[in-house]
Amino acid sequence: MTDLNVLFAGFGGQGILFAGKVMAYASMMEGKELSWLPSYGPEMRGGTASCSVCISDNTIGSPLVVNPDVLVAMNLPSLERFEKDVVPGGMIIVDSSIVKKDVSRTDVKVIRIDASKIAEDNGLKGAANMVILGRLFRETGFCSAENLDLGLQKSIPAKKINLLENNRKALSLGIES
């Protein structure tokens, strides 16, 4: 794999940016070139959030992922908005606990994973993002398992280090899903 462009999208509060950050950090540990770019808006709560992650062996040009290799859609508006942009042969990962609608594209690999439910069922409310990232890791192998864990460690600020284990657990639930 040389280039991988991923678009994470969902509601604000679902940990979209964090999932991207873990992926970015893991890729850095892997020795890749990479970029992480969030969508941003006025600070009012609500609305959608998304972030672009590019990893490559070469210098990253545009960090804005317009045509993702992988789309992670954690809510319906995100799927509706970005589905058409995925490159043919690409992948769409959907949190099927939240997005009931089917993906209509047939030229991409579609993965529906009950991420929110899996997380909640395992006492990891709010960690659906990591479940999905685990699955994304399994599907693409964008880095080694070690580096994924290192990426997670680097992404969690010192003050919230208590959340590390839960996130690890969620990641592995995703990997094993």
């Binding site: 970015a24 850095m28 970029s35 992480w36 990253i60 040009g61």
Partner: protein, 354 residues
Amino acid sequence: MNEKVLMKGNEAIAEAAIAAGCRHFFGYPITPQTEVAAYMSKRMPKIDGVYLQAESEVASINMVLGAGAAGVRVMTSTSSPGVSLMAEGISYLAGSDVPCLIVNVQRGGPGLGGIQPSQADYHQATKSTAHGDFHILVFAPSTVQETVDLISTAFDLGDKYRMPAMVLSDGMLGQMMEPVVLPEPKEPDNDSKEWAASGHQNKRAHNVVNSLYINPQELESLVIARYERYAEIEENHQMAEEYLADDADIIIVAYGSSSRVSRSAIDAARKQGIKVGMIRPITLWPFPKKVISKHAEHAKAFLSVEMSMGQMVDDVRLVVNGRVPVEFYGRTGGVIPTPKEILGEIVRINGGVQ
């Protein structure tokens, strides 16, 4: 060497400034640069530095003038409308020969505009930040690492030539994270400016930091002396990156964010066999005239790609001076062009030059 870390462009600006020995930051919040100030407000109190949130951009730039006049390394950061409010103060800084660093994390305009990335402040930065004859140094990084590197260059050249320097970033470069290696921190050097108004300690005549000269001949001669320094800078400090430019028929000129998108488009075009390359200005003032002029000898066309309605393109035209056509492609208002759109332009122009 320092460890590689993942950092937001805006945070990297702050940390790089601290590493460059800057201990004085005055600013006013504005999206999409708020992280610079937030970061400074966390770090400065820990390192005996000054972080002060001013009541406005007008106050910020004048605090910068005061601290700069007192001889310390000082900076502010803001976004587009904030620079407009700083205009008068920047003119005073230039007219009083006080160095400082101003960061503009550009957003869409005019007016309140929007908060998405833009490059529509190019003319403001390079031609006429405010009234009167003067220039400021303008640096345009395209990666987080380069942002870090240019911060210290900006401070150093500003000090050397006693003039304000600007780092012209934008919402995309400010918000994105990339791996970055921070430089070894420099000790602050706040006591070596002999012209500074920091108290003469009864050891020298009083220093006056001032931009008023009622006698026009006196004012003129100061301005001319300043323009001689500017000429020296234009001679010695033009910076640009050339990317596949040597054999190129079409040369894209693009800086900052739009140069990244252009690079993607160039890679795609090269795959189609189109001989396209890029000159990426790193200094916008001084504009990298030499390298553009050199390539105007072999290129068949230039294309200026900007996130504006076309501003830098005039500077390219001035250098090319009619030798070959200079075209423009741009998006504005916070829209980031896609590699595909630019590729389309390349293909179109390539059709013409063949």
